[in-house]
C-alpha cells in the first residue's frame, strides 16, 4: 500500500477515533451494550449453576459465547454504521469527492472495527473475570483463530449491509442491526448445533460462526481443538469475504451509474 493510501486510511481512522470522544453513542456501542450482555448472561449462568442444572462448563459456554458473539456483532455493526455516519452527516459527497477510493474507505472502516472491538473485548473479558471469575483467555491459543474468524464474518456481514444501504439508501439503515442478528439462530451461540432441526442444521453448517461456537465448546467442555471446524469456518469466511467485497464493488459501480452517491442522505 502506498504512503498516500496509508495516509488516507489513517485520516478516516483518525476521524472515527475522534468520534469515540465526541459522540456518546459510540461509547455506548463500544462498552455499554457488550458489558450489559456480559452481566446479564453472568446472572443466567449463576442461576443455572445454583439450580444444579447439569450443563458442563456452563460458565464458559454462556459467557464465552456472549463475549465472542458480541465481537462478531460489533465488527459487523462498526462497518455498516461507520458508512451510515457519513450518510447521516451528509458528508458522503465530501468524502468521495476527495482522492479517497472505495477500497481505502472500506479498509479504514474494517480496521476501525477491529480497533473498537479490541477495546470491547478487553472490557468484556475484564468484567467477566472480575464478576464471575471467568477467564476468557482460558481458551488459550484457540481464541486467536476463533476471534479472527468472527472478525472476518463481521466484515463480510458489515460489507453486505453497506452494499444494501448504498443501493437502497439510508432508509435501509436497519439492516446494520438486523442482518447480523439474522445469523444468530444458525450460529449455535448458546446451544449445540445438534438441537437444530435438519434444515436449520444444514443452514448452520454454512455459517462460519456455527463452527466457531461448536469449536469453542469443544475446547471448554471436551478440552480438544476442533481443527476440522476451524478449517471449514476459515474456508467459508474466505469465500464470503470475497463475495461481500465483490458485492460492494458492484453496488458502488451501480451507484455511480445511477447517480446514487450524491443522493445518499
Amino acid at each position: 500500500m502506498s504512503r498516500g493510501k496509508l495516509r488516507r486510511v489513517g485520516a478516516l481512522m483518525m476521524r472515527f477515533l475522534m468520534l469515540l470522544r465526541r459522540d456518546p453513542s459510540r461509547v455506548v456501542d463500544t462498552f455499554y451494550w457488550p458489558l450489559i450482555d456480559v452481566v446479564l448472561w453472568g446472572f443466567v449462568t449463576w442461576f443455572v449453576i445454583q439450580r444444579g442444572i447439569e450443563l458442563p462448563g456452563a460458565l464458559g459456554v454462556f459467557l464465552g459465547a456472549v463475549i465472542l458473539w458480541n465481537l462478531f456483532f460489533r465488527v459487523s455493526q462498526d462497518v455498516s454504521v461507520s458508512f451510515l455516519d457519513d450518510i447521516w452527516a451528509r458528508s458522503t459527497v465530501t468524502i468521495f469527492a476527495s482522492p479517497l477510493t472505495l477500497g481505502e474507505f472500506s479498509a479504514a472502516i474494517m480496521l476501525l472495527g477491529v480497533v473498537k472491538v479490541s477495546l470491547s473485548l478487553l472490557a468484556m473479558a475484564g468484567v467477566a473475570w472480575l464478576l464471575y471469575a471467568f477467564d476468557l483467555f482460558d481458551l488459550g491459543f484457540a481464541l486467536v483463530p476463533f476471534t479472527a474468524n468472527l472478525i472476518l464474518l463481521g466484515w463480510s456481514t458489515g460489507l453486505v449491509c453497506m452494499a444494501i444501504i448504498l443501493r437502497f439508501g439510508g432508509r435501509w439503515a436497519i439492516v446494520a442491526w438486523s442482518l447480523p442478528v439474522l445469523l444468530m439462530p444458525f450460529s449455535s451461540v448458546f446451544y449445540p448445533e445438534s438441537v437444530l432441526p435438519p434444515v436449520a442444521r444444514a443452514i448452520a453448517r454454512a455459517v462460519p460462526a456455527d463452527h466457531v461456537f461448536e469449536g469453542m465448546r469443544a475446547v471448554l467442555i471436551e478440552h480438544r481443538m476442533a481443527w476440522d471446524r476451524l478449517w471449514i469456518a476459515t474456508a467459508e469466511n474466505a469465500l464470503y469475504l470475497a463475495l461481500a467485497a465483490a458485492l460492494v464493488a458492484f453496488t458502488f459501480r451501480v451507484a455511480l451509474r445511477r447517480g446514487l452517491l450524491p443522493k445518499l442522505h
Binding site: A11, R15, R90, S91, P99, L256, R258, P262
Partner: protein, 248 residues
C-alpha cells in the same frame, strides 16, 4: 501532449442518462488554467450533474471527462488530488469541531503542515475552530467548507453555489479571496451560482445550460451581446431570456 500542458478540465460530448431522465445531452467545454468558468442555468439544467461527473461521483453514459488529462472515474485519486470541491450540500461531520474536521481532511488530501491554521485565518473562522460543525450557522458551515477546499492548495476548485448562504459582506470577502488566490497561484475555478452579478464580477467566461444542453457560451459581454444584442454585460437578463424561451 504532456499532461501538464492540458487544460485542467476537458469535457467532450458528455451524456448522462438516468433511469428516468436525460440530464446531459452531449455537452463539451474546457476550463483553462487560471480561468474562472461560470456554469449557469435554471434548476434542473444539469449543472450539478456536470460537477458530480467531474468529481467521479457519477459515471457518464457517453462522452469523456478529463481532469488534468486523467479520467476521474478510472484514476480518481491522481486526478482528484489536484482538485477540491465545495458546496453548501457537501458537509463535514456535525459532531466534530471545525478544527478536527479540517485536520481529517488535511490528512485525506495530503495538505502541508500548518494548512488548517492558514485556511481558518483566510476564511476568518479561527474563532469557530473549537465549535462543533453542527452548531455553526449555514453561512459559517459554508465558509468551513471553503476552508476545507483550500486546505491542500488545489489547482482546480469546483464550487457549487459557494456564496448562496453567505451575507453580502462575507460573500464579497470570499469572492475577493478566491480571485486573489487565482491571481497568486493560477488557480482554475469552475463555478455555479444563481447570483448573476457575482458571476459577472468573478467569471472570465460563462456557459449557460438548459435541459442538459449548452445554449450560450462566452464572456459575460459576448453572451449578453449574442443573446440580447446588448453592448454591456447583463447576465440577469440573459438568464431570464434563456430560462423563459420555449425550447425548440
Amino acid at each position: 501532449m504532456a499532461v501538464e500542458a492540458v487544460a485542467p478540465v476537458i469535457v467532450r460530448d458528455l451524456v448522462k442518462r438516468f433511469p428516468r431522465a436525460l440530464a446531459l445531452r452531449g455537452i463539451s467545454f474546457e476550463v483553462r488554467r487560471g480561468e474562472v468558468l461560470g456554469l449557469l442555468g435554471p434548476n434542473g439544467a444539469g449543472k450539478t450533474t456536470t460537477l458530480h461527473v467531474l468529481l467521479g461521483l457519477i459515471q457518464p453514459t457517453a462522452g469523456s471527462v478529463r481532469l488534468f488529462g486523467r479520467d476521474p472515474q478510472r484514476r480518481g485519486d491522481a486526478a482528484l488530488s489536484r482538485t477540491a470541491f465545495a458546496s453548501p450540500e457537501a458537509l463535514m461531520d456535525w459532531r466534530l469541531t471545525v478544527a478536527e474536521n479540517l485536520r481529517v481532511y488535511a490528512r485525506l488530501h495530503g495538505a502541508p503542515r500548518g494548512a488548517v491554521e492558514r485556511v481558518l485565518e483566510q476564511l476568518e473562522i479561527a474563532g469557530e475552530a473549537r465549535s462543533k460543525f453542527g452548531d455553526l450557522s449555514l453561512g459559517q458551515q459554508t465558509r468551513a467548507g471553503l476552508a476545507r477546499a483550500l486546505l491542500a492548495d488545489p489547482e482546480l476548485l469546483i464550487l457549487d453555489e459557494p456564496t448562496s448562504s453567505l451575507d453580502p459582506d462575507i460573500a464579497d470577502k470570499t469572492r475577493s479571496l478566491l480571485l486573489e488566490i487565482r491571481r497568486a497561484r493560477g488557480l482554475s475555478i469552475l463555478y455555479t451560482s444563481h447570483n448573476m452579478s457575482e458571476v459577472e464580477q468573478v467569471c472570465d467566461r460563462v456557459l449557460f445550460l438548459r435541459q442538459g444542453c449548452i445554449v450560450a457560451e462566452g464572456t459575460p459581454l459576448d453572451v449578453s451581446h449574442s443573446v440580447l444584442g446588448l453592448d454591456s454585460a447583463d447576465l440577469e437578463q440573459v438568464f431570464l431570456r434563456i430560462s423563459r424561451e420555449p425550447l425548440r
